[in-house]
Subunit: 204 residues, 2 copies
């Protein structure tokens, strides 16, 4: 693999393969395929991709309220007069806001932490937007905080940390129900999910 005569590959190609490889989930083979695709594609398509990347970097900021990504500050969600301002849903990253918005069920505000507490990776509460969350909760007086972190070790730890901070206040702290995913097979559900689905069983 590394024995290849580097002279046979033009430098701009090597560079673009390397840049694509930096993206999450893109290995070397995929990076090569994307690069060679861009060589074949027409100039305007490549230009459009290149410019779109910079348009995002130049125009997207974090909302000074909820830290969600936005073009205007405060963001459209924080600014929306019809959103329920008594609830705040705490998520790990901006993509989670997108996923929750797609359900059309939740109408409250958000707070994007931009990470989770992870001692293994040296990420403490001060490295993510928890202080800002405490500040918002203290000033705005929500009725409910929904902790919608990913259901894994770090997500749980972060939820527990936040729960600890607010548990003596008069705020309901909830999290999304855990259970069997729609369309999945009970037979194939992992034990923890199935256990939580049974113990949290709902009235039919």
């Amino acid at each position: 693999m590394d024995q290849i005569n580097i002279n046979t590959i033009p430098e701009p190609i090597l560079k673009l393969v390397q840049e694509f490889s930096k993206l999450p989930g893109i290995g070397k083979k995929t990076a090569q395929r994307l690069t060679y695709y861009l060589i074949r594609t027409n100039f305007d398509d490549a230009l459009s991709l290149s410019e779109s990347i910079m348009a995002v970097k130049n125009n997207i900021i974090l909302c000074s309220e909820c830290s969600n990504i936005t073009q205007i500050d405060p963001c459209n969600i924080c600014n929306d007069p019809i959103r329920d301002k008594t609830r705040i849903c705490v998520v790990e990253e901006a993509l989670d806001v997108l996923a929750l918005e797609k359900t059309g069920i939740y109408k409250g505000l958000y707070h994007v932490l931009h990470g989770v507490i992870s001692p293994v990776n040296g990420i403490g509460p001060e490295d993510i937007k928890i202080n800002k969350l405490i500040e918002r909760v203290n000033t705005l007086g929500f009725r409910e905080i929904i902790l919608a972190m990913n259901p894994n070790l770090e997500g749980e730890a972060t939820s527990m940390y936040i729960n600890q901070i607010f548990k003596n206040k008069e705020i309901i702290i909830t999290r999304p129900a855990r259970g069997i995913a729609i369309g999945s097979d009970i037979e194939y559900a992992d034990e923890i999910t199935l256990g939580q689905a049974i113990s949290g069983r709902q009235k039919f």
Copy 2:
């Protein structure tokens, strides 16, 4: 999925997701993940990716000899005095040259067709670089033509078409051996591969 309130997603993000989605093998979810990654990453990394795309589009051309992608014309392989100029290996696309070069086994020249004959997709011999191949073979007088198309219907049809053109000339026409891949299981090999491996068995 399409019910999402479009106002909550800034336009530059929608645009970049759309641009990423055009790339081969990148679905909508992956495009979103890449976009949100670029939002989080530092400015210079994004700039580097954006510029690398345009560097490829602005600096990479096709070699006027072999049609491989290159920065200089003729390309480094065609220009290399120590390559074996009596052999030419015909491949579908530039990535195949890369794969073959990585083996370090083949020392001859290449010819990149930039496609295969595919009547279903309306691609005939005149749409790929077959005429240029005929011209090269007639002028340069190779001893061997290796037909290294992908082993599928269209690759086979293209190989047969090229074989037909040159079969009455004094040129050896070969193709890479078909057989069981290293590291694979005979048990799981498909019938056609296994059949070709048996009928083309080699002396131990």
